[in-house]
Symmetry: C2
Subunit: 234 residues, 2 copies
């Protein structure tokens, strides 16, 4: 049974790395003391070692041992053996490029579908949808495909931002960008605000956390769903 | 001799479509009354016809006739025959996908290198660098390559935005994104603020318009260049 948390962000403005999620992570990973970390999104170009150290420091607070996948000779085997997996944020193009290059997108999908508890934040959440095509990131690498894990049936837009009515900037708002996505694609999109996450258990997808989320369906007006409700389109 | 304007945006908050650029366009296109328009970036998913109508209305103000490339049976031939070309903004992935699919990236490059006057705004400016990898757009289509025209030696980041020190949003700033680009690529990047443009004449690239621009070189601290100066890294 699928058992995962798909979070908009790792870090709230008011807190430290993963702080606001720690109580959830104790429950999600209750059956294991060791978690496999996928650091390939490399926020700011940080090394795999430095990123793993940062994430491990946060997980120590709930007495969990985090091990970076980059240290394994066979990452496919590491995923199959893992009893818990966390993919951190950063650049989604770099993450997806690496997952395809190492041929571990499919093993990761299988692990999650067969019940390995999974946490994704930001880029690590983007990959839970059918494609990475609603990422906010810059295309700094060319992945062999935009296809991702397809754990849920809709795409994620993490760090969702409402339009700022006072802005004089003429770049597209997030809502405009997602509507452009729907001129070319049919996949539903969930705009997840920072502090919100999806809790997936089996086929049930619930919105949790601080905010409502914005749902975009092709050809329909976007609408809000409240925290605490089940999301049927996912 | 190359002769083009690479503009950050088509539209300033204070004005109508292309208004602030009209005096420049009269000079750039002084030798022709007819301009070929490339509407493939389709802002907001607008049709080619509607987008061409919008751009043609602006060009009418300077007595120029704009014709959409989508009306030609052979777009390659249309580019070779054109005496002036304008590529409008929208979604850079959609634009680049279409240019590669129609095999007109190379003819467009040749036309500009052999002196056909060219105007690019936003996505139409992004494609003037070696790659589209510093676009701000959402990857709503998968282009067969991220390579673009390479008219100048550096990439463009249009609609460049300075970090907002009061923001509580945890998504990456534009500067962070461009620095991430330089963890994977060596191409210099020009952050062009709205109201600024590059005037390219032969091998000379000058910054024009309302603002300074921010230059990003791999491994160096970013720095500002003032409007009116020649940019040597481009």
């Amino acid at each position: 049974m699928k058992n995962l948390i798909i979070a908009s962000t790792s870090t709230l403005h008011s807190g430290g790395y993963l702080d606001y999620l720690l109580p959830e992570l104790e429950v999600l990973f209750k059956d294991t003391d060791e978690i496999l970390f996928i650091p390939y999104a490399r926020p700011g170009g940080i090394t795999h070692e430095a990123y793993t150290h940062k994430a491990a420091t946060a997980f120590k607070k709930v007495n969990k041992n985090l091990i970076g996948i980059h240290g394994f000779e066979d990452p496919n085997h590491a995923i199959r053996q893992a009893r818990g997996i966390f993919t951190g944020g950063g650049n989604t193009f770099v993450l997806v490029h690496t997952l395809h290059k190492l041929s571990i997108m499919q093993p990761l999908r299988e692990a999650i579908f067969t019940g390995t508890p999974y946490l994704g934040t930001s880029a690590g959440s983007n990959i839970c949808g059918p494609t990475m095509q609603t990422t906010n990131d810059m295309p700094i690498l060319y992945p062999s495909s935009f296809k991702t894990l397809g754990i849920i049936g809709c795409n994620i837009n993490p760090h969702y931002l409402d339009p700022d009515p006072s802005s004089k900037h003429m770049g597209e708002t997030r809502e405009t960008r997602i509507k452009e996505f729907h001129t070319q694609n049919t996949t539903p999109v969930i705009g997840l605000r920072e502090g919100s996450w999806l809790q997936v258990q089996g086929e049930s997808v619930d919105l949790k956390g601080a905010h409502s989320a914005r749902i975009f369906l092709q050809g329909k007006e976007p609408f809000e769903v409240e925290s605490g409700t089940q999301i049927n389109i996912a």
